[in-house]
């Protein structure tokens, strides 16, 4: 972490080794330098590895920092690109095995299978993860970067771009799943000379780190996706609204913006056309509600980040009352690939009305904690057991929480449900931005509901009454239940309140806040009853207060 914050870092820093070797390197070591591995001294590993390979006379070996390699649980990770050999839990003082392996790499080597965690994934938004130096424009270009924008600017009309996105079936990856093509068309047709494109990178769900990883591992991709969107909706200015808690993501994004501007991929006259588009970064100051689009716009404008009722939707009246396109990081990250490989290719992946792939952040009691991208329609069981490697210590699976504080808990009997926007809603949960928190039998579901209610209570902006007061009242009731002091009347009150908060709240935060309660009540009512009636916590998590004995 000695290098952070990264503001003072040199702009370009590709290979650590001395570049005495002519031609492409014989072997390359990719060192994951995303936030998770960075926090475990990944940068020291890069430096040490460079030093050791140089000392060992390996002039034809490149040591390169890359974005997230995905398997965060086993970090820090080093991969040998040519063989696919993966070194896990590397320590800076123990890089000799990697140096030895690098020595052995032969030109004829092919990548070998890396196991189901990698093999079962389909990478679209994350295709450059672990392959490019996040800050290197050359790396991005070498992997087909800016081909899509080039094609859009030279061969397509804005209507054709919108048509391709519509045909791809891409839907908003921020969670609600609004059809992206439709949103783009609405903004394009909205009246107004000035239009804006905003990238929503205010990822705040507990256990979610998809957007952070995309920004840290492949920032140019977001800029390209935003530029394509801007062309499609006739916008000239863009904002990335990123939370300040992601310093590495912000630093890399800023570097990418600077280098893209310098290379003519941002700013005036992009790729020698008349198309003009520039991007600025805006930092969120830690309010979860600012991920809601109207609150986000208020925050970008410099006002207090509180939502307002919609309509009018931002597509018609958004930033500074101009038509504004707001998409999530992952949505923009999917756009260049769709343009490059064609909408039919993208629409060919997925199931039902959910096309393409989705990035999930696996967290909780799962072996392979990390970042995965899977085709829509894959079952939860495949994601958790095959890719995720099952539950830690072989304990029994209890539930998976998706969709963050607006989502719900899905129990074991529904593990074979294919993951789509619709199926998750049917199960009382929500796609959300893609956080998946896996729980085993050591988790108490009432306690989980209480945790999320506490989160919503804390993050409520305080504007509307049902959210400001209702979330606290629900949390108080849940607290009462977990302390074994509640009655069945309290449980009924909780359900009634949850319904009212859902119906009456102003924005998605309040409307979604009761969801964890609804879903746990739906699948784990017996646990609630155990707390309320039997005064015991089946998972042994809650501290039930024993009633004081009364002397007769």
């Amino acid at each position: 972490m000695s290098e952070m914050p990264a503001a003072a870092r040199p702009v370009r820093r590709r290979a650590i080794t001395e570049e005495t070797h002519e031609g492409p390197p014989r072997a390359t070591a990719y060192v994951c330098e995303a936030a998770s591995c960075m926090s475990a001294q990944a940068h020291d590993i890069t430096l040490r590895l460079g030093e050791r390979t140089a000392r060992a006379g390996l002039g034809d070996v490149e040591v390169k920092r890359v974005g997230c390699l995905g398997l965060c649980a086993a970090g820090p990770l080093v991969e040998i690109a040519e063989t696919g050999q993966l070194f896990e839990r590397v320590r800076p003082d123990d890089v000799e095995p990697i140096v030895k392996a690098l020595k052995k790499v032969k030109p004829a080597d092919t990548r070998r299978s890396q196991g189901p965690f990698f093999e079962k994934q389909v990478r679209v938004a994350t295709e450059n993860f672990g392959r490019v130096d996040p800050e290197s424009l050359e790396d991005y270009l070498a992997r087909g970067g800016y081909e899509a924008l080039q094609r859009v600017l030279s061969e397509m009309t804005s209507a054709e771009v919108r048509e391709e996105i519509t045909r791809s079936g891409l839907r908003g990856r921020g969670g609600a799943g609004y059809p992206t093509g439709l949103k783009w068309t609405t903004v394009a047709k909205a009246q107004g000379t000035q239009k804006y494109v905003i990238c929503n990178a205010d990822e705040g769900d507990p256990g979610a780190f998809m957007d952070r990883s995309v920004l840290e591992s492949d920032p140019y991709r977001i800029l390209e996706g935003m530029a394509i969107a801007a062309f499609a909706v006739h916008a000239t200015e863009g904002y990335v609204y990123c939370r300040a808690e992601y310093p590495l993501a912000v630093a890399r994004l800023r570097t990418a913006i600077r280098l893209a501007q310098r290379a003519g991929w941002l700013g005036g006259g992009i790729a020698d056309t008349s198309f003009t588009f520039d991007v600025q970064v805006r930092l969120g100051a830690g309010a979860f509600v600012c991920g809601e689009e109207t609150a986000l716009i208020a925050s970008v404008e410099g006002r207090r980040g509180t939502p307002r009722p919609r309509p009018p939707y931002p597509a018609v009246q958004g930033l500074w009352d101009c038509p504004t396109l707001i998409n999530n990081v992952e949505t923009f990250a999917s756009v260049p690939a769709i343009i490059r490989k064609g909408p039919d290719w993208y629409a060919g992946i997925g199931a039902g009305k959910s096309r393409g792939t989705k990035v999930f952040a696996l967290a909780g009691r799962i072996v392979n904690t990390g970042l995965v991208e899977v085709p829509m329609g894959m079952t939860l069981r495949e994601i958790i057991d095959d890719i995720g490697g099952g539950i830690v210590d072989g304990r029994p699976f209890k539930a998976v929480q998706t969709g963050g504080p607006s989502g719900g808990c899905i129990p074991a009997e529904h593990l074979d449900t294919p993951v789509t926007y619709e199926s998750l809603i049917e199960l009382g949960s929500f796609m959300g931005s893609g956080g998946m928190i896996v729980m085993d039998d050591t988790s108490c579901m009432v306690d989980v509901a209480k945790y999320f209610q506490d989160f919503c209570r804390d993050e409520s902006c305080g504007k509307c009454v049902p959210c400001r007061v209702g979330t606290t009242q629900m949390w108080m009731l849940l607290d009462k239940i977990t302390r074994g002091r509640a009655t069945l009347a309290d449980l009924a009150q909780l359900e009634r309140l949850a319904g009212i908060v859902q119906k009456m709240s102003l924005c998605g935060l309040g409307q979604g806040a009761p969801n964890p309660i609804f879903s746990t009540l739906r699948y784990f009512r017996d646990e609630y009853l155990a707390h309320v009636v039997d005064k015991r916590c089946p998972a042994g998590v809650c501290a039930i207060e024993q009633p004081a004995e009364v002397m007769a």
């Binding site: 009722p309 305080g462 504007k463 009454v465 400001r468 007061v469 009212i500 102003l506």
Partner: protein
Amino acid sequence: MTTVYTLKIDGRDVAGSEGQSIMEVAEENGIDIPGLCHLQGIHDRGACRLCMVEIAGSPRLAAACMTTISEGMEVTAHSERLLEYRQAITEMMFMERNHVCAVCVANNHCELQGMAAGLGLTHFDLPRINPKVDIDASHKLFAIDHNRCILCLRCVRVCDEIEGAHTWDIMHRGLETRVQTDMGIPWGESTTCTSCGKCVQVCPTGALFEKGRPVAAGSKTKRPFLPWLRVVQEERGL
């Protein structure tokens, strides 16, 4: 030329011009839709959620003060379900801070109290949250008791939109939200406050009050000046 729309509110045929909210049209036609953050003459913000109405064909409830009318709209402003929800919202407001009518300067002249009575709310089931909040009596004429504040922000809006002083604003979030004067300094030390008293006039409860006299002795009942001031402002192009 403005387009005129006809619509139904609670089965009654009414007409309104383009851009008007359901609330405005209802007010013009003598249909009472409850609301505490709404006040004629200042901009609406749709925060108290008491004016939520059902609109035929829409799965969601909408705030009457923030929803503009359209042709053929069918609005249900009063139903069993809405009454239940409104009672619950009013109860939440009462249980949030320390509202004790019997010892309040605004007793019998309080819109929150009136709301509860009007909705037939007889008792409360929810527990009190009662966060510890302060009283600021540093201003020479007025005082604010945050215990009675329901965060309707009429004071903030009237100060900004009508008086043009913007002394009032809000700070913090969730239950910690408070109205504040001049970046959180005591009201009496505010350099922007003109002591006009408009905030006291528009406060629906006894949170803002004139020192030394109960609300009954003041003039917190009807506020005909607000819409009038708004018209004057607009005529002058302010």
